[in-house]
């Protein structure tokens, strides 16, 4: 019996219909709304944007479309504030991704090459913090990094510094926060690939006379590329729009685009500009996102 025939048409519909309706209502339509409101302008009203659809069927809809424009985009793209917030976000996300790779790869490698009995424990140790409150874990760093915090206390006590270092409210604090919060997302995909690697390949390399570092470089690293790529994309994409970490650790001077969106929305009550920022963010992230989807669907193929 072929796999396709195992489920009748009615069963398929019954299984598919609820999630499709759910996802269209709560993912697709909200996205279209962002796009539409990004073309409106901000007014003092409830809701705070205009034009609104005021009935009138197709003609009314046409009139509405006629009043939409690209003004918010023009403003954002010509304003240095927004541009530099975008560039800062991309730069911080890029550097953080690189740092995560440098820290995460050796950890994933260590986990994959640990004794088999030890591996589930290491895996649990890596996953548990990811479940515990993100907000609380970022907060914990404030006490460690602030001027009279634990790092400065320790360094002063050891006599290594004469005056407290300024770490909190700098970009360095953001990097620490991002690396800390996103580490499992980098380690786990790399670990998955490394753990599944065929060790016979390394033995073959050794038999052919390659020293361990050479076979690591020529066999292990290239074969782990899908995990590395997945890990990098999994941390880069959300990091670009990160709000909590720059807000709590980065101080008022670090402009990241997620924070800019937040303050347009809550501070200025400018929903159309906030929407236009969101649309631009999606456009910037669409390529990394499509790359990630391709990697994921290849992974699914491999499981079949």
């Amino acid at each position: 019996m072929s796999r396709r025939d195992s489920y009748g048409r009615a069963t398929r519909w019954a299984v598919l219909a609820p999630p499709v309706v759910f996802l269209v209502a709560l993912f697709v339509i909200p996205f279209l709304l962002i796009a539409r409101i990004s073309l409106s302008h901000s007014v003092r009203a409830q809701p705070p944007y205009a034009p609104q659809y005021e009935g009138g069927g197709v003609a009314g809809a046409w009139r509405l479309i006629g009043e939409l424009d690209l003004e918010n985009y023009a403003t954002i793209l010509s304003d240095d504030l927004y541009l530099s917030a975008f560039l800062t976000s991309l730069r911080i996300a890029g550097i953080a991704t690189l740092l995560l790779l440098l820290i995460g790869y050796p950890m994933a490698y260590g986990m994959a090459r640990a004794r088999a009995s030890l591996r589930p424990i290491l895996l649990a140790l890596m996953i548990v913090p990811f479940w515990t409150s993100f907000l609380i874990r970022i907060y914990a760093w404030i006490g460690i990094l602030k001027a009279d915090g634990l790092i400065n206390q320790a360094l002063l006590a050891l006599g290594l510094i004469g005056a407290p270092l300024e770490i909190l409210n700098t970009e360095a604090a953001i990097f620490i926060g991002v690396v800390y919060a996103y580490l499992p997302f980098m380690v786990l995909p790399i670990y998955a690939v490394l753990a599944a690697q065929d060790r016979a390949l390394l033995e073959a390399a050794a038999d052919l006379g390659a020293p361990p570092w050479l076979s690591f470089w020529l066999v292990t690293v290239p074969l782990s590329f899908p995990g590395v790529a997945a890990g990098c994309l999994l941390v880069f994409i959300p990091c670009v729009g990160e709000f909590v970490i720059p807000d709590l650790l980065g101080g008022s001077e670090t402009l990241m685009i997620g924070r800019q969106l937040w303050s347009e929305f809550f501070g200025n009550r400018d929903w159309p500009t906030a929407s236009a920022i969101a649309v631009l963010m999606v456009i910037v992230l669409i390529i990394p996102f499509l790359l990630l989807r391709r990697l994921e669907s290849r992974g699914e193929e491999a499981l079949r």
């Binding site: 069963t11 479940w131 915090g149 690591f216 906030a274 969101a278 669907s297």
Partner: protein, 264 residues
């Protein structure tokens, strides 16, 4: 490999775990500190914990979070199960890639975007912002995680069991209830637990989609955090860490137990 690459990786692993756990350990330690200056030790106390119980705003927010978490995790688990089933069992149907993209995109999507888009939806359909809108928003953003966990389990076990049941004449629904469901039950439990903890932890989406009177625990904690470190937050944080860790350990044991049963 006791030298070279192995040694480097081993030390990276140890240092990495110190990096991961030290801040949490310090957070817990200083929640018992009898000094307002959170990071200067002033003796042992449990008074911050006693203070929490009297903090009505915090308790109310915790209750809101709990209700939203239970409701949204339940919706997300049901939707996630259906998505995982469709992706794992229906072969290459039309729109399969689209379904996967819609389901999994919110996992990586910056939260501010998801949050803003859902708020605009609720305003457009004129739904009053409150516990219901937060619940819907949380269900939407955690469904992908639930689908991923359950999907991994579905991919991991032998589907010939289901097919055997159907070959013997069981209708799909019966085969699902009798064969598939017991096998994926631990993953369903894990998916629910993850969706629940994600909801309990979310600040950004709740802030956008909440209304007056529906402040959640993270929103409350966050507004206090902006004023600087305070021992109360350390105490709340410690409780959250302990509760979640206990839940995760229970879920892990359940999952391991289920795997052994499933493999047998």
């Amino acid at each position: 490999m006791k030298h070279g690459i192995g040694a480097v990786a081993g030390s990276a692993l140890i240092l990495g775990f110190v990096f991961i756990y030290a801040p949490i350990a310090l957070l817990i330690l200083f929640s018992f500190n009898d000094s307002r200056l959170v990071t200067v030790w002033g003796g042992f106390t449990t008074r911050w914990y006693a203070g929490l119980l009297e903090n009505e705003a915090l308790m109310g927010a915790a209750w809101n979070s709990l209700r939203v978490g239970v409701a949204s995790a339940t919706v997300a688990t049901v939707m996630g199960t259906l998505i995982a089933l469709a992706l794992a069992r229906f072969g290459r149907f039309r729109g399969r890639g689209l379904l996967a993209a819609m389901a999994f995109a919110p996992i990586v999507m910056p939260e501010v975007i998801t949050a803003l888009s859902l708020l605009l939806l609720f305003v457009a359909v004129d739904l009053d912002r409150g516990a219901l809108t937060i619940t819907l928003a949380h269900a939407a953003f955690t469904t992908g995680f639930a689908a991923a966990i359950i999907g991994a389990r579905l991919a991991g076990f032998d589907r010939s069991l289901e097919e055997a049941a159907m070959d013997l004449g069981a209708p799909p629904l019966l085969a699902f209830a009798q064969v598939t469901l017991p096998l994926i039950a631990p993953a369903i439990a894990a998916a629910w637990a993850l969706a629940f903890t994600l909801s309990l932890d979310d600040l950004v989406i709740a802030s956008f989609t909440s209304g007056p009177g529906s402040t959640t625990l993270p929103m409350r904690i966050y507004s206090q955090m902006r004023l600087g470190v305070s021992p109360d937050i350390n105490a709340v944080g410690t409780l959250i860490v302990l509760v979640v860790t206990a839940a995760v350990l229970a879920a892990t044991v359940a999952l391991k137990h289920g795997e052994r049963a499933g493999a047998g």
